[in-house]
């Protein structure tokens, strides 16, 4: 929680003033029974109409000041809470965007989304309530006790016994039931899971006519949930009656003690009434406090989860320097590590040699994902010249995507170096690198907006002609033209209003708009039929000559014309060469190829 408090920093004034005004309001509330005692003792006792009216005016004034204080407090509390959550959300969003793929994988996007939405809301609510009530309630409880002491010490001792007793009961029941509520939540989750499963699997369940069995399974979980709820309910149903007993027994004792003290002429009748009033004020506040604590506990749990996200830092450092000789020399001078010096030398050489360096180079690269047992890629070594087309093929889980994901530096090599134009990818600035590399990911993702807005992701200042050119290359021109509004046609969230093939073609077009030097197609034509894919392949071949292209595919036909084909199996290079070479000498490739093109 402490880390999150930073975001309240700009609302120091509000965070102090809100509780302060609340306490002021409470103070006025505490005076009410006191004034009432005066009415009884002096007004009624002395049969003085004037005294009664004056006291009545004081009561109204107290109420009015209380109202003003309270409104002020609410305003400050709301302002601080809303401002806090706005800043927190900004920071979270910014932070999440700075995380590298490794962290995003480990955290999971759905977690990140809940943290940013419902968790932040809970915390906002918590902050608001804490500012409003957290000081007020204890203040009234203890204030009432102090007022009681001012009236009579002996009678006040009853308060001293009652308050801790009430606290023990209220908070004791809460402590017992709260972990049980967690169990209830788990039970509810189980019911939810079964429901969802039966929706997503409706076809299979019906195909195997499992409806009755599933209903039974559901009812079982439902009964378990109900029983748990009933048990917890019984416990928490105790809170009200028990507190009622304690407070009213205390009132009875108070009345008796009061009687004795009045008899001894130590206090007056009006003061007995005041004491009874203070006792009932305490009850009201304790109930509020108990509710507040539940809310705070929830908010704290959310706050900790949010903090957990903010504590995750990106495991990737980006280079700042551009490839100028001076800077390269600077690195050489400043870095003492031998490897780095060599790297810097090499960079300087690259800058001088200009275009002679290979476009992409994997230098004995190994990759192990965070938390994974083994390596996903081992000892990959490949050099790709500018303008070449590289095919990457292999079975599911053989590491094809991992390989190409290292080029735009989505993941860092655990061993070895990936170089682009002769420079280690780690020395590039993030934008610099990602502008160079256009990647079309396996899952075609589009964003809510128009087709044009989506395409402009590739390059913000592209003209319509350029967009159409990219579309036509991606074989998407035809269907975009057919859409109402053309480039301005609406795309729903995730591109749900488009078919899988249309989405894939649009994501390809989006990458093409950026005119990347290196284009990576990660199995991004899988939803296209063969004819469209063939046309796409031809169009890709017609890209400007200096564009280096990586094509990842399961279809041998997609990559057979590549200048180089790398065959992966279990993360290792099973073959490297042209189609003909591999077909002659690589067993894995042969197997893949003939599975798709049977020898006839």
């Amino acid at each position: 929680m402490r880390k999150l408090l930073v975001y309240l920093k700009d609302y120091k004034k509000e965070t102090v003033l809100a509780p302060l005004f609340k306490m002021l309001e409470a103070t006025f509330e505490l005076f009410v029974p006191f004034v009432m005692a005066n009415i009884i003792d002096y007004g009624i006792g002395g049969a003085d109409d004037g005294a009664v009216l004056r006291s009545g005016a004081i009561l109204v004034a107290l109420g009015l000041i209380g109202l003003l204080c309270s409104i002020t407090a609410q305003y400050f509390a709301a302002k601080a809470a809303v401002g806090f959550s706005t800043k927190l959300k900004h920071a979270l969003f910014d932070h999440i965007q700075s995380l590298s793929f490794t962290e995003i994988d480990t955290l999971g996007t759905s977690t990140l989304i809940t943290r940013m939405t419902s968790d932040v809301n809970q915390v906002q609510n918590g902050v608001n309530m804490v500012l409003r009530l957290f000081l007020r309630s204890p203040f009234i409880v203890f204030g009432a006790m102090i007022m009681a002491f001012l009236i009579d010490v002996k009678a006040a001792l009853i308060f001293v016994v009652t308050i801790p007793l009430l606290a023990v009961v209220v908070f004791g029941i809460m402590m017992i039931t709260m972990p049980l509520y967690k169990k209830v939540q788990a039970g509810l989750d189980a019911v939810l899971l079964t429901t969802r499963e039966n929706l997503t699997g409706a076809r299979v369940i019906r195909a195997f006519h499992k409806e009755a069995e599933e209903t039974e399974r559901f009812e079982e979980k439902n009964v378990a949930l109900t029983n748990l709820q009933l048990f917890v309910g019984k416990l928490s149903a105790l809170t009200n009656p028990v507190t009622y007993i304690i407070v009213n027994v205390a009132t009875i004792v108070l009345l008796y003690t009061g009687a004795v003290r009045v008899d001894e002429a130590i206090i007056s009748q009006g003061q007995v009434v005041a004491l009874v009033n203070y006792m009932s004020q305490i009850l009201v506040e304790l109930v509020k406090l108990a509710n507040l604590i539940i809310l705070i506990t929830k908010a704290l749990a959310c706050a900790n989860r949010i903090e957990g996200i903010l504590e995750v830092t990106s495991s990737m450092q980006w280079g700042e320097m551009a490839a100028t000789p001076e800077i390269a020399e600077g690195i050489a001078a400043s870095v003492e590590d031998g490897e780095a010096v060599r790297e810097a030398d090499r960079m300087a050489a690259v800058v001088q040699n200009g275009n002679t360096a290979p476009a992409v180079e994997f230098d004995h690269v190994h990759l192990a994902y965070e938390g994974a047992g083994g390596e996903s890629l081992s000892d990959i070594h490949i050099t790709v010249k500018k303008g070449q087309t590289v095919g990457v093929i292999g079975g599911t889980g053989s590491g094809k995507s991992s390989l190409v994901n290292m080029i735009p530096r989505f993941y860092d090599a655990t061993k070895g170096t990936v170089r682009i134009d002769g420079r280690d990818v780690k020395t590039y600035g993030m934008e610099e690198l990602r502008e160079k590399v256009g990647i079309v990911l396996q899952r075609p993702v589009l964003f809510r907006g128009t087709i044009r807005e989506n395409l402009l992701w590739g390059r913000g200042d592209a003209s319509d002609e350029e967009l159409w050119e990219a579309l036509s290359r991606a074989q998407a021109k035809e269907f975009v033209e057919a859409k109402e509004g053309g480039l301005d046609a609406f795309v729903a969230q995730e591109g749900r209003n488009l078919s899988g093939g249309q989405r894939q073609r649009l994501t390809i077009a989006r990458a093409l708009v950026g005119n990347p030097e290196i284009l990576i197609l990660d199995d991004s034509a899988s939803a296209l039929d063969y004819a469209t894919e063939a046309a796409l392949r031809t169009a890709i071949r017609e890209l400007p000559k200096e564009t280096t292209v990586f094509i990842v595919s399961q279809r041998a036909s997609s990559i057979r014309h590549a200048d180089q084909i790398i065959v992966l199996e279990d993360g290792e290079t099973a073959g490297l060469g042209t189609h003909e070479e591999l077909l002659a000498g690589c067993e894995v490739y042969q197997e893949i190829y003939y599975s798709q093109f049977p020898k006839e």
């Binding site: 009664v52 109202l67 076809r203 599933e214 309910g233 009622y244 009345l255 078919s499 989006r510 399961q554």
Partner: protein
Amino acid sequence: MKNQSGQKETIKKVLRYIRRYWFLLAVSIVMATVTVALTLYFPILTGRVIDKIIGPSQVDFPAIFNILKQAAFAVAFTALAQWIMNVCNNRMTYRIVQDIRNEAFHKIEILPLKYIDGHSYGEVVSRVIADVDQFADGLLMGFTQFFTGVITILGTLGFMLSVNVTVTGVVVMVTPLSFFVAGFIAKKTFTMFKLQSETRGEQTAFIEEMVGNQKVVQAFSHEDEALAQFDEINGRLEACSLRAIFYSSLTNPSTRFVNNLVYAGVAVIGALYAIRGGISVGQLSCFLSYANQYTKPFNEISGVVTELQNALACAARIFELIEETPQIPEKENAIVLQDVKGKVELSHVDFSYVPDKKLITDFNLAVKPGQRVAIVGPTGCGKTTVINLLMRFYDVNSGKICVDGADIREVTRESLRENYGMVLQETWLKTGTIRDNIVMGKPEATDEEVIAAAKASHAHSFIKRLSKGYDTVIGEDGGSLSQGQKQLLCITRVMLCLPPMLILDEATSSIDTRTEIRIQKAFATMMQGRTSFIVAHRLSTIREADVILVMKDGNIIEQGNHETLLEQKGFYAKLYESQFAS
């Protein structure tokens, strides 16, 4: 008006659920009345005690002792009644929730697939889970609050009138003020809340998009633009949240202020009366505590009304699901298919998902036992439609589909589906062990049979390597299994029961080609002597098929075998050339 009659309907339906627990309800109402009455009685006793404490040596101890004893009894009974009421309410609430959930789930199992396909899962789930919860909380808690509130108001009025009419008049005159204030604020803030929740929804959607697809955002270096867009929404949300939260938070202080006015009024007028001997000090203190109690239910009731309305809205959504027309029930004398040979005939079938968009018209097909039917066509051409019709997930609009000569609408769904083995591209596994998932179609299968099936589908080797083998528990939707592994499990499932007819989706996308060859072999053994419908991607499958259905845009446009279709030089010929003749 219409809305109100709808609400009435909903209330009637809710009452039907409550009726089952009428006994609990009756006890709860009685106990609530007892609780309220005793709670109201306590201040009277307190007042009487105070009247016996007039001043030094003017204290009537025996009388006080007597009254306090009564008070103690009253307290004990109140607590007991309160507890019984709480327990009854709990029991009633949770049982009703349980009933409603069971009924809703039961409905899900018999809803036509049209409904399930047409609604997002999240929406249906939220009806069964969130709406039911809200309904329970709102309606039943609201109901008890409403009920005790009304009794408290009536009781207090009665007690007050019995003590003093004039002072009661003061209380009655001023109290509605707080009601109006609360109502006024609620009305004013409603639009602010609506704007807040709309903006919040917009923000959530944006977060879902950008964070959910963070990898794409980063791949295109789009972070700054995204952040700017986010800040814009965030700023708007801040402004409208502040207004909504602040204005709605005025309710409490304002009503408290009105309460204070009532309190002051009672104090002054009561005191003036007391001076003239109209009432005693004890009665005044009793009035003061009533003045507090009397206004509270008013404030609560105004909240309860909105809560009740919300609960009714939730209930209406649940009932909508529960009352959805189920799939057409089985005919009474529905045939149970036995010893199916596998003859499938479709005659003059018309079908479409939406009435005004024709899809399949006058489609005829006769499949002899053991024949293979390949369904081909470009992506998204509606190949699943055929599966939907064969399995009777959807009913034909006109015409008929017969299996072994029997119209499938005359046959029990169970026996129809039992005779099909289905492997879909979208793999679905339930939470449970691997074994649970495999034996879905044949629960009584022995371990040997399961292993044999798994070996046949080449799933055995990976299952063996899992931590607990066949007893490994997999999470929701297959959990940590790869798409290919899930596919293998789905095939094993069919492999185990081997029904006379098969529906296979040659899902090439998620299995690598070498594994696929093995699966292909498994498929081939399975298809031996069985009527099979295959959504085909592979040339060999298509060529070997006895009938090829060519689909485009949801429609079956050509039908025949490989040679005849090629001769037609139609869509199939074009497709074939573009795909395989390169």
